[in-house]
């Protein structure tokens, strides 16, 4: 097992990304090592253990959220990395980008309330296939983290949803918890808040773990989640 400090983590930065620094700070706090920020025009990635696509409004969310970012040069490198079984995590806008690249199935459409929504939500950790993103979290664990998005309403065909469900690819579902308001903030199918790929190596999620890394910021469940992932990837 390698130590967390020796992990090589890249955070991709697109014009309009705005949670890149937050993610960098969170990861550095947990690993003691600053991840590298990789500009979208780069066409290759150094060998890495994890690629993270952070939240924000890449390319202004114009056309479709994540669409323009998914065609940026650096994405080819991410696809190669994923094809080699490399781990990839997308948060919020990063999740939208991953759907646009096809690394994960489905789409995120506009919230059912047609409004941007920023608040804490509670998610339930689901029983998933073997995945570094969930293996250190017990099924049924409740995590409270903020969401902040306008397009977080997960949609896929009935067949696709059934497949995700049966394969254990649903990682997080919105669940009633201490947070204010309805459990599902956006109308997402099957209350999906996060999914993993068929091989478990790619994850997309709407809640922002990097914003929930200490009690003064309103909670540490994001740190719990990230720590679990990092340890799994390091082992």
């Amino acid at each position: 097992m390698m130590s967390l400090t020796s992990m090589r983590i890249a955070i991709l930065v697109f014009p309009g990304s705005n949670c890149d620094r937050d993610m960098m700070v969170a990861i550095e706090r947990l690993t003691g090592r600053r991840p590298s920020l990789v500009w979208h025009k780069e066409s290759s990635l150094d060998t890495i253990d994890l690629a993270i696509i952070p939240g924000g409004f890449s390319f202004g969310d114009y056309l479709r959220c994540g669409a323009l970012a998914a065609r940026a040069p650096v994405i080819d490198a991410v696809l190669d990395h994923a094809a080699r079984g490399g781990a990839v995590m997308g948060v919020c806008n990063g999740f939208q980008v991953l759907l646009e690249t096809g690394l994960l199935p489905g789409v995120l459409v506009q919230n059912a309330g047609l409004k941007y929504i920023c608040r804490n939500v509670t998610v339930d950790v689901c029983d998933t296939i073997d995945s570094p993103f969930t293996q250190n979290l017990e099924t049924g664990t409740r995590l409270t983290m903020p969401v902040a998005h306008n397009e977080g309403n997960y949609f896929a065909s009935e067949d696709e949803l059934a497949r995700l469900n049966d394969n254990g690819q649903i990682a997080f579902r919105y669940k009633d918890g201490p947070a204010h308001g309805p459990a599902n903030p956006n109308g997402s199918s099957l209350n999906i808040a996060g999914i993993v790929s068929a091989n478990g190596r790619v994850m997309g999620m709407m809640p922002h773990p990097e914003r929930a890394i200490s009690p003064e910021l309103g909670g540490s469940d994001g740190a719990t989640f990230l720590q679990g992932c990092l340890e799994a990837l390091a082992s």
């Binding site: 390319f59 202004g60 114009y62 056309l63 065609r71």
Partner: protein, 82 residues
């Protein structure tokens, strides 16, 4: 009947989305793209068979809700042969 409402930004109104998409297309090798304007295309199913009345009602919907007449223009298209 089916009605199509096309909504476009008035001339001169900045379309940041169009600019960003055009730039991306250029970057992807579509150098021939000179400009893009993005509008909406709203397809309505309306329970009304009289074309004149349909047109008038849909115009009212555009003025009331569908278009932001300060910055947008709209046009109404009732496809033939319905």
């Amino acid at each position: 009947m089916q009605v199509i409402v096309n909504i476009s930004l008035k001339e001169g109104v900045l379309d940041p989305q169009g600019l960003a998409i055009a730039r991306s297309l250029n970057d992807l090798g579509f150098q021939e793209v000179d400009g893009i304007r993005v509008g909406k295309r709203i397809v309505l199913e309306v329970d009304e068979t009289d074309e004149a009345r349909l047109h008038q009602r849909v115009a009212k919907m555009c003025e009331t809700l569908l278009s932001n007449t300060v910055i947008e223009d709209y046009n109404i298209d009732i496809p033939d042969g319905q």
